[in-house]
Every structure is written in C-alpha cells, then in structure tokens.
C-alpha cells in the first residue's frame, strides 16, 4: 500500500510553507511540529492506515525523552474538537490531505484542523513522532462567559436523607438547594425535587421556605433513579435539564453558567463537571469505558495530579459523564428516550451518554465547574450482574476501549 506523502516542517509560528500545498503532487503532507522529528516507519504506518480510511487530517502518538533520559509513550485520545479549540493536542506529526487542504483558506496547521469535519479527522494508534524533550501543549483561555440565560430545570431526586457533612448534621437536599441559591450568579433556574414518599414533612417545609422557584414532585414507586429523573423531566419547564444528585455541594460559584455556555457550543450534547470527594480527591472527571465495563477517569487521583497531556486542566470530550451532575438540553433528553428505567441504580448515565453520542452529539467534561460529591454517604453502589448485562447487550463494542482516555494517561 502506498500513499504518496511529502514531509514538511512547521515553522515556529505554526505556519506551513505557502506554496507547498499548491505545488506538491503528493496525496498527503505530513507536517512535523517544531522541535519534533518523524519516527522511522511512521510514513509507512500512516500510508497503511490512510489507504484503509482516507481522512482529511490524521495524527498519532509520540515518544518523548524525559529529564531522566527515559522514553515516555504519549498516546492520544480520539479527536476532540472542543479540546482542540482550547489546546492543540494533536502531537508531533499531523498528516493533511492535500486536495482537501487546497480548498481551505488557512495557512497554519491549526487553522486547517479547525476547519476539518471531526468525522474526517483520524487518530492513528501508532507512534509517528518523537522529540528529545517533554512538551506540554499550551492551553488557550475558554471564551468569556455568555449572556444567554435559558431556563435551567435542576432535577434532584431525593428521599430527604440526613448526613454528617462539613462537621455537622445536614439534610442534603436542603443544604444543596440553599447553597445553589446563595452562591450561584445564574438566576434563571427552577428546582424540581423528586421526593420519595418517605421524605419527612420537615424537609418539604424547609425546601418550600427557600426563596427560589422550587417545585416538589412525589415518587411513590420502588427506587429507580432513572425513573425519578424522567419524572422530574416531564415536569420541567426549562430548555436545559440539569440532573443533580442531592449529595452534591458546589465549589465553583459560576458552575451553571460554565456548563450552559458549553452546552450551547455546536455539536455538544451533554456536559459534566469535575466531581471531588470530600477529601479533595477526584471522584469523577468523565467516564472511562474499557474491558466491557465502566468506571471513572482519574478516580481517586489527587486534584493536582494530571496526565502527560494535561487533560484534567482543559474542557474536553469524554466517553460519558455522571448523572450526579450533568446538563443536557430538554430536546435531546426527550429525543433519546430519557434515562433507561431498565437500569434503576447503576450505569443509567453510561447508557444515556452513549445514546447521546449515538445521535452524533458529543459529551464533554469541564474542570472549571467543580463540585463535591458525597457519593458513598447516600448510596450503595453495588452493581448487579443484570445491570452489567443490560449495559453490555446494548453497548458491548462501545465499552471495550475508551475513545478519550488512552492507557498511557494512567488509571
């Protein structure tokens, strides 16, 4: 298999020589980034893959030499348009299809990739480039906060549980709603509290006494988290649905604004937040799907720790997000049949995330929205075999290898 490819080196300003794309007779240009070199055999690897899957842009993995002169493999996730808008993480060698690039009005690699259809951008799981130093792709600031303030319906399933939080006994749902009302600068929101029959009258009274738009919906059937969320959704009036557990405490005051702005970006279907345990370690930074099961990215990592790509410091696509805190548009939620009641306790958010992605929308997580999740306090997360089987029956091939968290990023 041969795919004629010419190698070109990007200059310090990130530009590709202007005349090259016009004059070359090659099918592809392999752009080697500043400070990197092409790895032996890389062109052959590229040619093999591009012959099978013709793409407009292709990028691969890298080898870097660390301070201790050790070689470090940097594997890259699938192409993440949101992440690319915040951080050029495509690595050391990027192949561009010449015929396509000629029609684009861009002189830089970044400009070209930004114009590409994400479905035509291919990650090649092979080492294409290497460099003798460690390179951390620099990040760009996200856009300034938007002014659009759609009605957000915050759906909170609860049974009015009491827990020892922050050194005192609290009713979780009351604590959460008061905290959001007191600290969030986002004002256009309503709370839909889906409360079990067993929720004490005193909890209802405390909620009703709060100053916001709070509506109580009764849940009388046996526990089913998905069905409770769906019950809240059919009562919601907002264009945006924020699914929220009651054992959550916001850290970032403008977390709702950040999540709404992200959801309003084109192609994004669901937005999650960075959830921390009470001790400050990471509970959730996106889902991790591998070996036909589902877990969390960076689970129990210190909040200061990150992978070699700096993934946890930047908004980026993930395989899925936890329904403990997830924002989704009402239209999309109803378009995918809400949360599946076949999964009453576990993996319902995995299923929702995969249904959203199957519709062609992307699921993203933002580390700029941080909340504490007191997960273990309120729920026994024991997974039943039937739940795992239900998940596998639907999504077995999609939960085999994670698209956005490669092995070299750590577990």
């Amino acid at each position: 298999v041969t795919v004629p490819t010419v190698v070109v080196h990007e200059d310090a300003a990130g530009a590709i020589p202007a005349t090259l794309l016009q004059e070359t007779t090659a099918d592809y240009v392999a752009v080697v980034r500043e400070g990197a070199r092409l790895r032996r055999g890389a062109l052959a690897d590229l040619a093999t893959v591009l012959a099978r899957f013709p793409s407009d842009v292709a990028f691969g993995d890298s080898l870097e030499r660390t301070m201790r002169n050790r070689r470090r493999l940097i594997e890259r996730p699938d192409f993440s348009p949101l992440r690319f808008s915040r951080q050029d993480d495509l690595g050391d060698v990027v192949a561009i299809r010449v015929a396509w690039a000629r029609d684009q009005e861009a002189a830089s690699l970044r400009g070209l990739v930004a114009r590409a259809d994400p479905r035509r951008v291919l990650h090649v799981p092979a080492v294409l480039g290497e460099r003798s130093t460690v390179r951390v792709a620099e990040r760009r600031d996200p856009p300034p906060p938007g002014t659009n303030e759609p009605l957000v319906s915050i759906i909170i399933p609860t049974r009015g549980s009491v827990a020892h939080v922050g050194g005192r006994q609290s009713v979780l749902v009351v604590e959460l709603v008061s905290e959001v009302l007191a600290t969030s600068p986002y004002r256009n929101m309503e709370f839909i509290i889906v409360a079990d029959d067993a929720t004490p009258q005193s909890v209802i009274d405390d909620l009703v006494a709060l100053p916001g738009e709070i509506r109580i919906v009764r849940w009388s059937a046996p526990f089913n988290f998905s069905a409770k969320i769906n019950r809240g959704a059919v009562h919601a009036r907002g264009t945006h649905l924020l699914l929220l557990n009651d054992d959550i405490q916001p850290i970032t005051p403008d977390w709702i604004r950040i999540m709404v702005d992200l959801l309003d970006e084109p192609g994004i279907g669901m937005v999650g937040a960075l959830l921390l345990y009470e001790d400050g370690t990471v509970q959730h930074a996106g889902h991790l799907y591998e070996a036909e099961s589902a877990g969390h990215v960076a689970h129990e990592w210190s909040v200061d720790r990150d992978d070699d790509l700096g993934s946890l410091a930047v908004d980026h696509e993930v395989s899925g997000v936890s329904a403990a805190c997830a924002l989704i548009s009402r239209d999309l939620f109803f378009g995918v049949g809400g949360m599946t009641t076949l999964l009453p306790g576990n993996y319902n958010d995995v299923d929702l995330s995969l249904k959203v992605r199957a519709r062609g929308a992307r699921v993203v997580v933002t580390p700029r929205a941080r909340l504490i999740h007191f997960e273990s306090r309120t729920r026994d997360a024991a997974v039943t075999i039937s739940e795992l089987e239900t998940l596998r029956r639907r999504w077995r091939s999609r939960i085999e290898v994670d698209d956005y968290w490669p092995p070299s990023s750590g577990r």
Partner: protein
C-alpha cells in the same frame, strides 16, 4: 412510609405526565433494540478510529506474556486437534 405533605409546592403528576413518561420509556426501548441490532453488525457501525483502537487492543493482547505463555501451554492440544480434524 407515606408522608402526607401539606405543601402548595407539591405538583401533582397527571395522566399527561404519566403518558409522557411512558413515551420516554417506549423510545428508550426502541433505541435499545436498534443499538442491540447494531451490535450484531458491529464492524460496519464502528468509526475508523474505534476500529483501529480495537485492532490495537487485540495486537497488544497477542503480544502480551500471558497470551504467549497460553499459546505455548495449549500448543500440544491444538496440534492434536489439527490431527483429529484431518
């Protein structure tokens, strides 16, 4: 336990709401059947990136020590089976 809440904030779930919930469940089952069906023809439904990643996973497994030891251990049985098939 059934608490008879005395609150104007409680909104009743009407037949219309329940119907909307049933529609959600119905659509979910329909999507579920579609994706289960797609699982059966998975090679055509995977994106190129997903296909390459799965191939890499298989290649990794085959180059692992566990796989190679397993191949050595099972080699006599496979040889016998080949003879029997002939």
């Amino acid at each position: 336990v059934f608490e008879r809440w005395e609150s104007a904030a409680e909104i009743p779930t009407t037949a219309e709401h329940l119907s909307a919930e049933r529609q959600l469940a119905l659509l979910d089952r329909l999507i579920g059947l579609e994706v289960e069906n797609a699982e059966l023809s998975v090679t055509t439904s995977l994106t190129p990136s997903e296909q390459l990643r799965l191939e890499q996973q298989v290649a990794r497994m085959r180059s692992s020590l566990e796989w190679r030891v397993g191949r050595v251990v099972t080699a006599p049985f496979r040889a016998v089976r080949r003879q029997l098939v002939r």
